[in-house]
Symmetry: C2
Subunit: 345 residues, 2 copies
DNA sequence: TTGAAAGCGATACCAA
DNA sequence: TTGGTATCGCTTTCAA
């Protein structure tokens, strides 16, 4: 009974200090390896720490000092889309290696979810925030500005970011793909993707795509944006819906490779062959592409690297190193053989 | 100058109180909707909160009171394995819906990483911890016990958990698959999976599998455990390696469906057909299975539900509701047509 | 209905 | 090389 002097049953630094017969300041210094104590004292304190199973309360540390927490809030739309799972993996690995932790927020592609999550996470005094996309609610933007913590907006490269931004230019990547497909002789093209309440990178990509296709004399005859997760089966039934709308589509561009693979399976099930009967183009160059027999036409984007870059920028900022505020991570088109081959002239 | 009374530039509750002309206690009560104040006071305080853009510092709240934080530490091996991405999604969605946040830890299948992560996370006073697997380092176990926070061990159902456990019996699921394949007439069977420093659920599954196969008169002629992520390409080159070891393998069991798909692509590339030339069995019934033309023999496991269940158990415990400490989430075998059909007798 | 004072677990600052 | 004291932002407790 006389042993505990706190509400909780946890061992505090002053208990360690008492056990070692020193002041808590001395114990604190030993703990932080700050120097300014004798070896004998150090050994004694360390012994008691071990003996009592002391675990520091970092809440108190942040609270007391001028240090920030080691939390970094990471907002990601969803993990069913493999693209984002990879980005998150890249982020967390890098952050973890430098003693930081990701506080996850799955925003389900809605600004409201993101706003609520930001409010909560900020109340935990995070070291910084990594947000997916360039769109945020007005209140979210305001809170972020007031909070004054470093922010990295990822995925959709933002030339005028709240703070820092890393990603790719989705409009351009869509544009390049559009130009490529038109260049391969496709006229009537379809698109299958997903959509949500807010505009996002996929929307931007589609804009670029349409512009290039139409500018090149082709036509995006049908765009299907399903309110669903961007994964295999969505691509499968999306393709079914798209093709049911007749109009002789010659080629389909998908939001990502998983959807494209779903689509390929659908057309195969209908006895169509790729690319003879229909062209297929994905996006993202996802892991599945590495095992397909026919190289999938796609757009390579280094997702893991993107996540790592975001974490690096955050870490650099946190250690007051200079950071380039916008970093373009790049992409490159993979021609593949799921579309018609280039015509010989 | 006279306005700020803190080290940080953030607005504190006492500043709100001062602006409203009340004591900080009154402001605190309004904030928490505790009652015991007039409507006029409430309105005034709320107005100032809005005006000053006050955001509470929850670190201080936890620190001061006897409440716990809303953090739940979630340790997951990796996100490249789609299985775990799904589990995490299930966990975070459910936790988020109840005002909790996941603090992520990617342990890379090592006990040491997990231990380090646990030490750090515990120092932030989390409400609880969700850990993947039943194996933890001795020091980790000790810290966990001392911390006295709720723990859910997921994935590998643990009949004597540290605290709570939810998952499936991997031995049994492997056993069932082994018995099934032997029942379909396979004698020489191969296995392709991944392995890491520590025994894990996949290892347990393989044990059950071998036991059933050998008990049924078959033989697991070759087991390949690659030190890699359990995804498509690993299945592809693993299969290449496995088959290069000659010995006429009739059927291959994979650690999961993504690896199995990679394997199917490899055998197809060699001109073998499934199941005529070789049988293929996956595990997990992952999203890709839903679009394949030939139903993949697999084991259905409700990953998302498993994650949700883990979160539910945690939340129940946190609100002092009674919780069944072990929850078996179940699995069921999907016969599929990537193995020989049942023989007519 | 309101407020004043003590305290949570650590660190900063100054004194010895 | 050490220790005392004030302090971080909030809640608890007790008094008005």
């Amino acid at each position: 009974m006389s042993e505990k002097d706190s509400k909780t049953n946890k061992v505090s630094l002053s208990e360690v200090a008492r056990a070692a017969g020193v002041s808590k300041m001395t114990a604190s210094r030993v703990l932080r390896e700050e120097g300014g104590y004798s070896e004998k004292t150090r050994a004694l304190v360390m012994e008691k720490i071990d003996e009592l199973g002391y675990l520091p309360n970092r809440l108190a540390t942040v609270f007391a000092g001028d240090t920030t927490s080691t939390f970094v809030g990471v907002a990601i739309p969803d993990l069913g889309n493999e693209v984002f799972a990879q980005v998150l993996e890249g982020i967390d690995r890098k952050l973890g290696a430098f003693g930081h932790q990701s506080v996850l927020g799955l925003t389900q592609h809605t600004l409201k979810e993101e706003e609520d999550w930001i409010r909560t996470v900020l109340s935990w005094q995070p070291a910084g925030l990594i947000l997916t996309g360039r769109y945020h609610s007005p209140r979210a933007t305001e809170m972020i500005k007031n909070a004054g913590v470093p922010i990295v907006e990822i995925w959709d490269l933002n030339s005028s970011p709240l703070d820092m931004s890393v990603g790719i230019n989705h409009f351009d990547s869509g544009f390049d793909m559009g130009r490529f497909l038109v260049g391969r002789g496709y006229g009537k093209i379809g698109y299958v993707g997903t959509s949500h309440d807010t505009a996002n990178a996929a929307t931007t990509r589609l804009d670029g795509f349409c512009k290039a296709v139409e500018g090149g004399g082709g036509k995006v005859v049908r765009q299907l944006c399903l309110h669903d997760t961007a994964t295999y089966y969505t691509g499968y039934y999306g393709t079914e819906q798209l093709l049911a709308g007749s109009s002789r589509i010659e080629c389909i561009f998908y939001q990502n490779d998983t959807m494209a693979f779903g689509g390929m399976q659908y057309v195969a099930s209908k006895g169509m062959s790729v690319p003879a009967d229909i062209g297929i183009a994905g996006w993202g160059d996802l892991p599945i592409a590495s095992v397909l027999q026919r190289r999938l036409t796609s757009m390579h984007v280094p997702h893991l690297k993107l996540g790592q870059a975001a974490a690096e920028m955050m870490l650099a900022r946190l250690s007051n190193e200079p950071v380039e505020p916008c970093r373009d991570i790049g992409f490159n088109l993979i021609p593949g053989s799921t579309v018609k081959s280039a015509e010989r002239t």
